[in-house]
């Protein structure tokens, strides 16, 4: 432990040079911009800027790139809350309560809550990386296909039954999501499916395009119908809102802690930030005493997904450094960077490249602090965007959405798909079908399918593989408990009520 602390302080001395501090602020600012633009995700942003860093020392280079990553994690929340457009996949769950808050004129509060929770999640994860890296890395190795499937199953189960919509509508939306997720190449057989001879379809429906369309364009269509105003227009701009929100946050400490744990777990395994945010939101809704009010603009509903997403995003770097496996697409690009700088990621990196590793870890602390300072000071500015008249901001949003959709695959067709998804989103809202299950199924559908079929190959078709070992059995058991909890709770209540009567 003391050795680690020494190493960490050495790391701070490496990271705290004027050049590195400057790069940190540049990185975070760029990252926030990248996070705000949907489609131009952290992975793309880092890939674009990677060559710039080849002339820097490796430590400075990774400090700047990882700060872009922190910035993107922070930035994803901004458009989710203000316009119901998730800038990044992991901020979809943030829209559920963040956007209603903005509509009620509480955008500043929601933004402050989101940024602060992000910071707390990341900080928790960094502390864990500092002290538990070797231990945690070994835990990640326990995860084979059955365990991955169990984790995805748990995400679905923690999410089912949380909407107010009738179960059949939820099922219908979810099945549509699964069907869309199945388009393209099938990893297990190597065949193209559901493309009907149209080869443009073979890249499948990217989650981001669907989300930009369903949420962003769909919302604009609705607003147009409702008379060309954003209901968040009345947002008051008051710098004191930050302090007021901070006063409220400590009461959600249980939710925060739980979200940190969920985030770290999924970041390491590597489930990723997106399932982490969904699962954390779902669980918070179950556990919170205000659970029934989730979706109407609860601060807690912003805290839960943001904390988990940032904790997962940060801890995703751990398997990359310790095992050489990237926990997220961004981490994969960073991994490529490591190789180019002449560093070999893997179990020996911590031993052979002490300066680099501890410099990076120290920069995680500093980068997140820098990030928080930057975004918190900008809260009034971001909230003020809502004062711009709809007729001016709507075309800007549509253009940004289109650029975002194009950037994902550099394909024009995706812009048309985005518009189609926009119409679908509008129809869903008009008919009161929930969007969240569709999105969840689309993002996790093919991964869950791969893991399930890999497990079936391993066990020669025996479903008992999901209960064969303690870890996988435990996660599956927890999932089933969550799935049937509403039914069980009702039965229990019925059994008790005769006594009471």
């Amino acid at each position: 432990m003391f050795e680690d602390l020494n190493a960490l302080f050495h790391g701070f001395s490496v990271a705290l040079t004027p050049l590195n501090l400057l790069l940190m602020f540049v990185g975070v600012t760029l990252g926030v911009i990248i996070g705000v633009l949907p489609g131009l995700g952290g992975a793309n942003g880092i890939a674009i800027l990677l060559p710039l860093t080849f002339t820097m020392p490796p430590t400075s280079a990774i400090i700047m790139l990882s700060c872009i990553y922190w910035g993107a994690l922070f930035g994803g929340a901004i458009t989710s809350i203000l316009f119901n457009i998730p800038g990044e996949p992991w901020s979809v769950a943030t829209t559920f309560d963040g956007y209603p808050m903005a509509q009620a004129g509480r955008a500043g509060e929601a933004l402050t809550g989101a940024f602060t929770s992000s910071f707390i999640g990341a900080f928790f994860a960094v502390v864990m990386i500092t002290f538990l890296a070797p231990l945690v890395a070994r835990f990640a190795l326990q995860f084979g296909p059955p365990e991955f499937f169990a984790v995805y199953f748990l995400t679905f189960c923690s999410f089912i039954g949380m909407g107010k919509e009738p179960p059949f509508k939820i099922m219908a939306a979810m099945m549509l999501g699964f069907a869309l997720a199945a388009v393209g190449i099938d990893t297990v057989t190597g065949q193209l499916r559901l493309i009907f001879g149209w080869y443009e379809l073979m890249r499948g429906f990217d989650f981001l395009i669907a989300v930009i369309g369903l949420f962003g364009i769909g919302e604009i269509l609705l607003s147009m119908e409702e008379g060309l105003t954003f209901s968040g227009k009345s947002a008051k701009i008051d710098p004191k809102i930050v302090i007021q929100t901070w006063k409220k946050l400590p009461q959600y400490w249980v939710t925060s802690l739980r979200s940190c744990l969920i985030g770290c777990w999924l970041g390491i395994t590597p489930g990723g930030a997106t399932p982490a945010s969904f699962m954390s939101y779902g669980v918070a809704k179950r556990m919170s005493k205000d659970g029934a009010k989730f979706g109407t603009g609860q601060l807690e509903g912003v805290v839960a997904p943001e904390t988990a997403a940032h904790a997962a995003g940060t801890s995703a770097l751990l398997p990359m450094l310790a095992l050489g496996i990237p926990g997220s697409p961004t981490a994969a690009v960073l991994l490529g960077g490591l190789l180019i700088w002449g560093l070999q990621p893997g179990p020996l990196l911590f031993i052979e490249q002490k300066d680099f590793v501890w410099g990076l870890i120290a920069s995680m602390y500093l980068g997140n602090i820098a990030g928080l300072i930057i975004v918190i000071t900008c809260v009034p500015l971001f909230a003020a965007i809502l004062r711009i008249p709809f007729s001016i901001i709507a075309p800007v949003i549509i253009v940004i959405c289109a650029i975002g959709a194009y950037t994902v695959h550099n394909a024009m067709l995706d812009i048309w798909f985005m518009l189609l998804f926009g119409v679908l989103g509008y129809v869903f809202k008009k008919l009161a079908y929930p969007l969240a299950p569709l999105v969840l199924a689309l993002v996790l559908g093919d991964r869950a399918e791969d893991a399930f079929r890999q497990s079936m190959l391993m066990s020669q078709g025996d479903v008992r593989i999901f209960f064969s070992k303690g870890l996988v059995g435990g996660i599956m058991g927890l999932s089933l408990l969550l799935l049937f909890w509403p039914v069980m709770a009702k039965t229990l209540a019925r059994m008790r009520s005769p006594k009471a009567a």
Binding site: A43, A47, I48, L49, L50, P51, L52, F54, T55, A140, L141, Q142, F143, G144, P145, G184, I185, D186, T187, V188, T189, G190, Q191, L192, Y199, M202, R203, G204, P319, L323, G324, I325, P326, P329, A332, V333, L335, G336, G337, L339, I340, G342, Q344, P345, G346, P347, L348, T407, H409, N410, D450, Q454, L457, M458, Q460
Partner: protein
């Protein structure tokens, strides 16, 4: 994209200002790019082809090998078919090149997507990637023979072989092993080589045929054991990689009694209808890339076979490789249209 261009220009201006540019000997090249060149990667971010393409981009910027910038773009849809169709469709646009892996041959055969390497213009072979048979270091098998004997003894489908993708190089090699040794594995496809290595360290699978670069980190850390390399000669790198072994110490599978020889192309193509001057420009560019210390270092880390080919030699090699893949995939029953 525009941000990227501006930044790349900025970086070059910066390099120029510091006088870091290495002036290449003035070969009278008749053609050179007049705008940024798109570098298509028919695979996802973080994989072998992606790493190599991004290294090349970095080397080109750092040593100022080209006036215009090189912009890697991942088009991985449909097992890489998206990238190939994109290049095939850009006839007469010389500002587009593609880096290939074995999916040049396997994807059209396995999926029936209409493209063939002959429809593109071959530029050069950069290197050949090796395949190694790996097991977990805690398993009792010290040689390929011991391992395959155990697989045979256990009976069909008892041992799990993990690999990247389905009906691609890893599964082709697996089928070849099965044929040569008279065994049967359960083949489990994963999305990327990194996943496969980790699954092997976690003992969720029994063996893999990862490329050296995909498994080197775990090998050095002592979690994996290399049994044999699928080539007719040993890898040439004699410097110790782990505490006791170099790449050269790994026996060939032929020595171990499984005569399988399979290497993967890391090559460059450009769009259909490119002129000789345009191809020559790229061939020269990659010759210069190969001279840089970063490239040499990368080759050694990944234990690549550093064969370089261009012109008719390369075309002939491609023809042979296509025939080879057709034969292997036909035998394995992987063809979409038999």
């Amino acid at each position: 994209m525009r941000i990227q261009h501006a930044l790349s220009y900025g970086a070059m201006a910066l390099l120029g200002a510091f006088g870091l540019s290495i002036t290449a000997p003035a070969t009278a090249a008749a053609w050179e790019p007049t705008k940024p060149v798109e570098f298509v990667i028919p695979a996802g971010t973080g994989g072998g082809a992606d790493q190599m393409a991004r290294l090349i981009q970095g080397v080109v910027v750092k040593h100022n090998l080209m006036k215009q910038s090189l912009i890697p773009i991942n088009k991985s849809g449909g097992a890489g078919a998206e990238g190939f169709l994109d290049v095939k469709g850009a006839k007469g646009e010389p500002h587009k090149i593609i880096i290939t892996l074995s999916n040049t041959f396997t994807t059209p055969l396995a999926t029936g997507v209409p493209f063939n390497w002959k429809e593109l213009t071959p530029v050069a072979m950069l290197a050949l990637d090796q395949f190694v048979l790996w097991v977990n270091a805690e398993s009792p098998y010290k040689t390929a023979k011991e391992y395959l004997d155990a697989v045979k003894k256990a009976g069909p489908n008892k041992f799990k072989m993990g690999g990247t993708g389905s009906k691609q190089e890893d599964q082709i090699i697996t089928v070849a092993i099965e044929k040569a040794a008279g065994v049967k594995f359960t083949y489990i496809p994963f999305k990327g080589g990194g996943d496969v290595a980790t699954q092997l360290v976690g003992k969720h699978i029994d063996s893999s045929v990862n490329n050296p670069i995909e498994a080197v980190a775990q090998w050095r850390a002592g979690s994996l054991r290399a049994l044999c390399v699928f080539d007719d000669t040993r890898m040439p790198y004699k410097e110790k990689v782990t505490t006791t072994m170099s790449w050269n110490d790994i026996p060939t599978c032929k020595e171990a009694g499984v005569p399988i020889d399979y290497v993967m192309l890391r090559g460059i193509f450009t769009t259909p209808g490119a002129t000789k001057e345009q191809v020559d420009f790229y061939v020269n560019l990659f010759r210069k890339v190969r001279e840089t210390p970063e490239w040499k270092d990368f080759m050694e880390k990944g234990a690549f076979n550093q064969s370089f080919m261009a012109g008719p030699d390369y075309v002939k090699w491609l023809g042979n490789a296509e025939t080879l893949h057709y034969g292997l995939m036909k035998e394995a029953g992987f063809l979409a249209k038999p």
